[in-house]
Structures are given as C-alpha cells and as structure tokens.
Amino acid sequence: MTTLTPVLSRNWDRADSFTLAAYRENGGYEALRKALTMQPDAIVDLVKASGLRGRGGAGFPTGMKWGFLPKDNPKPRYLVVNADESEPGTCKDMPLLLANPHALVEGIAIASYAINSHQAFVYVRGEVLHVIRRLRHAVAEAYEAGLLGKDILGSGFDLDVVVHAGAGAYICGEETALLDSLEGYRGQPRLKPPFPAVAGLYASPTVVNNVESIASVPSIVANGAEWFSSMGTEKSAGFGFFSLSGHVKRPGQYEAPLGVTLRELLDMAGGIRDGHRLKFWTPGGSSTPIFTEEHIDIPLDFESVGAAGSMLGTRALQIFDETTSVVRVVRGWIEFYAHESCGKCTPCREGNSWMVQVLRRIEAGKGTQEDIDTLLDICDNLLGRSFCALGDGATSSVTSAIKYFREEFTAGTHTPAWELFPYQRTTRWANESVEEDA
C-alpha cells in the first residue's frame, strides 16, 4: 500500500506557515547553507542522481536541464521559474506558494547557485492576487535576512529575484512563450532549437523550471539523493502533488510518491461522491488523454501512464462520475484551447475553432454522420503539426473520448447531451437537492 509523503505540504497546517520564522523552525534554509559550501557542479550532480524530473508536465530530468547550459558562453545566466499554473485541473503550485513560498525561494537560491546565475525571475500568473502577495512577501523577508541579495550567508554569492506577474494567457506556461512574455512581448512560442539553455531570456543561457521542481530541490540537498529516490519508482523518483478535483468526497492536495494509483488516492479522498461511480478522469490535466474506470490501478508514474496511452502531466486528477456527459466536457476543453490558442500557427488556431463548432453541434444533438470523422481528421492535422505542445495537447481529450465513449458522440446526431445527461445532476449541490426532493 502506498502512503502519503508530505514534504512540501508538511507545514501547511500551521497558521503562519508562509512566514520565514515558521519555515526556519522546520529546518528551512539549512539546505541553502549546506549548498553554499558545495561546488556548484556537485549540486547539479546531486539533483541528477536524485532522479528529479520536471513537475510542470513534461517530466524532463531537472539536473540534466541544468547541465545543458553551455560552459563557454560569456553572457549572464538566468533562472526563470514557471509559476504560470493554468493547465485545466492543475491546482498545486498556487496553494504551495500561498502556504509555503519559502520552499520555492530557498530552491531558487540553491538552483541559481548551482547553475551560476545571479538573476532569477518567477513568472506567476496574474489572476491570483494573494499568491503574488505571499510570494513577494517571502522574497522580501529573504532579502532582509540575507538569504537573497548580496553575499548570501557570507558566501560571496549574489542573487536577485524578481516576482513578475503575468496578465492572463495560458500559452505563457509554454517555456519559450513565457520568455517572450517576460521580455515584454506577446506570449508566443519560439521555434526550438535553440533551446532556452543556449538562447533563452534575452538570448542568454536560461533554465526554466516549474515551481514544484525548484521547491523540491532544498529537500534533496538536505536529505540526499538516496532519500529522494527511495520514494517513487525507478524512473519516476520522488514525491509529488496529486491534485484531486471533481466528483470525489474530499478533493484536495495529496502529496505522494510517484507510482501511487488512482484507486489508492480515491480511497484516501473518501471515494466518489455517494451513490455514484467513476466514469472518466484525466491523469494530468486537460492536455492528457482521458482514462476510465479500467485504468484505476495504473501506477501514476511517467512510464506507466505513458504505456497506457496518456501522460502523467501535472498529476491533475479531474474526476467525473457517471452523471457527466463526456461530450459536454470535451466541448468545454476545446473552447478553452480555441480561446487560448496564441494564433501563431494555423493547425492550432484554425483546428480548435473548427472543432468547437463541430462539438457544439454534437452536444446539441445536431451532429452529422461525418462529424466524428471530421473531428478525428482535424486532430490528425493538429497533432505533431502545431508549433508547440499546446496544440498537440488539445487533441488529447477529443481522440481519447471518442476512443472510450464513441457512442456518446454518435448519440449527438439525434439527442442533446443535456437530455442524455441532465446537467443539473453533475453539480456539487446535486446530491443535496436529490435528498431534499426525497
């Protein structure tokens, strides 16, 4: 049986968890002190040895990313933290920053030292005012305590950190679009290569890492690579947040070793809401192909989820029970992609808006016999042909939903989804009204 392993969330139940004092009482910034006595390359090697893989969705090994910075480039190096959490279903970094921002600040200091960067940025989505306040507060506290700024802890290492608020654009979660946005442009992805490690922010060598990845680094420095890799699986080491939302009794953040299963997580979360059963779910946000009840025992690690036809993504487990129309949900997600497409490449810009029209028709019971084929054809022209991974991600829900629930799309040729699955039955308060009626 897998059990929970609270590390980043360990102190969240104390009211002052976001303060420097509370963080230090739990051993905070001791890892930074230790790191500053190490050779920077030794820290990169340590993170490599830990097996930490990026927690922002793609799962690229963090230490390897750091190791890609060219040694002979004379330009300044930058660390950019991606706190633009916007993937539908994903809700881990914002509560982390609200409750425990110093874990990120300490991680930034260690990572910057390891890659020899003296300027770091946190690009945080703009629509989360209190998260931004808390993060800025933590950065200010750290400066005041000599944990950021000049000559950190007497080591001679200097680091400045700027918290930069975005302005509402999902695409800026894509690392090169994020860099364009941070440079003051429209957030549109860049052609790769060159990768940010070679030409990133201001065409300088840059590391872009997710909040949770960087916040995990202090625990690795403090406790060792073996400690970290003693959790999780061989190729998906360590712990991570599993964010349960939707039709479960106790939605929320569950910090567990990678490889935990949905069955185990559902058991921890009290199961599906009373009187209902699991219908479909996303393992890692709306850009990862959906799963059904048959996938409930798949270990939630990068390899196992991939082998089963989806992606671990951001471990954003959106859970839908049998009252939910899959057509309604997919239509909503594609409306999202159509809205958020940056417009730079044709397959994503055009493909998503056409899919919205087809899906709205199917949802209204006015679909045609050709509509399923049309959707699959558009997906075929989008997947692998769009400029960035966001276009690819848009196709995930469409193709997987047709694969598992084709009959619901077929029913869309004659019956509206809201007749097959009355929408009032899905709400959070639906069970209460059923009881009141009875």
Binding site: H164, A167, M231, G246
Partner: protein, 241 residues
C-alpha cells in the same frame, strides 16, 4: 445594461499625476536587465489608474520604454487581464472551464447573468460590478470557483454568488475565502500586480480545507516521508556490499 462610456483620461497622464506615475514607471523598469521587460507591469500600472488600459495609457507606456503605440497595443490586446473598456469596481469572474462548469460553474454564471442583468463582459450601470466567465484559475479542488478582483471565492453556489455581488453593490465588507481580510478594488488590485505591495500578504488563511486534505489524512494515519537517516544508512550499506 450597457457598458459605461469611456471616461476622459487626459488629467491622469498630465501634470503632477504624470510625474508620480513616471516615478513608479522608473522603479518598475529598474527591476529588469532590459527595459522592455517592464511592459506587462507598466500596463498593470496604467490599468490601476484608470481601471482599464486606455489609448492614453498605452501612449504613456510606449513613451516610458521608447516603443511605438502599435507595439504596446499589440501586447495589451494579447492578454485577457488588460481591459480595453472600463470594468466594474469589482470584477467578478466565474470559472466555466469544464471541471468547475460541471461542479456548478455553469449554473452560477447563468444565475449571475440573470441576477445582474448582464451578459458576459458587461458592467452594471452603477459601475460597481462587471461579469466575465473565466478559464481555469488553478483552484479546481475548491470548485466551483468565483474570482473577484483576482481573489479566491471557493466552493460557491448560485445563492452564495448572488449574495456576494449584492454585498459588493451595497458596499459591505467582503472577505475572500483564501485572501486578505477585505477585498480591495479593481484598481488597487492592478497596482499590486504592477509590483507595488499593499502590505496585506500576512492577512487571511495560509491554506484552505482542500489544500490540507492530504496532510490531515497523513497526520491521522501517522504517514510521513522516509527518515533521511534510514535512507542514508541503507545507501551506505549498499555501497559497501
């Protein structure tokens, strides 16, 4: 109800007020290695003055950075948080991305539209409330979610959301679920986004109930991450084999 007429912004970007804003702009620009990086915060700054990004606001940003107004407009129109028309003192966003929609966001948005007599992206005649449907705001474990001036109002219902907007229109103090003790105005929120602290970071809870679900269970069952001493000993043992 209609959207209010665009007000005259000539006084805002002239005289003493302009001098004050230029000082703010200088401070923002000084945070970055290259000035143009300051454009997003500068747009938040002009929005904090007028409640939206006017042509005059765009010209102000362009002048601070040595850009053309076309270059600034291209950026201002790309990001959804910059409004090109005045919004309400309280900007209410209802998440209707599928997870929230299914949990009741669709019903909440419909209820608010009817209650306020507004369509998407419109403002009440008194200028108090504007309404917009949002995409995912990273609070899915608190669905359905309503944001007001970018503060979290978790686990909403149509009734709670209607009461919320009524209280806002009546000028009552309203407290976000995970936010400061009192809601600030749209303009004040924009100033925080531009990077000027309002000193309220320590207010409000550290975490919501859903954020604590896993930790509470772990405490109850005595679950924790492995003891580092034990894993280090095991690694030594394996190393000497």
């Amino acid at each position: 109800m209609s959207t209010p007429q665009t007000p005259d912004s000539s006084g805002i970007f002239s005289g003493e007020n302009r001098a004050r804003l230029e000082m703010d702009a200088k401070e923002i620009i000084s945070r970055y290695p290259k000035p143009r990086s300051a454009l997003l915060p500068l747009l938040h700054l002009v929005q904090s003055e007028e409640g939206y990004v006017s042509n005059e606001g765009i010209a102000f940003c362009a002048e601070q950075l040595g850009l053309t107004t076309a270059e600034v407009t291209a950026v201002a129109t790309f990001y959804t948080m910059y409004k090109r028309r005045p919004v309400g003192e309280y900007h209410v966003g209802v998440c209707t991305n599928p997870l929230c929609a299914v949990m009741g966001g669709d019903e909440i948005f419909a209820a608010l539209k009817e209650h306020l007599g507004l369509e998407n992206d419109e403002t009440t005649e008194d200028g108090k409330i504007s309404l917009e449907h949002l995409e995912c705001n990273a609070a899915c474990d608190f669905a359905p979610v309503v944001m007001v001036n970018w503060e979290f109002f978790d686990n909403q219902t149509p009734e709670s959301a209607k009461k919320l907007v009524d209280d806002l229109r009546l000028g009552k103090d309203v407290k976000p679920t995970r936010g400061p003790d009192r809601l600030c105005t749209w303009k004040q929120a924009s100033r925080v986004l531009a990077g000027f602290d309002d000193g309220r970071a320590a207010e409000g809870p550290q975490a919501g109930e859903a954020s604590l679900a896993g930790l509470r269970l772990a405490r109850e069952r005595g679950w924790q991450a492995p003891d580092p001493a034990a894993t280090a000993a095991k690694a030594d043992e394996e190393g000497t084999k």
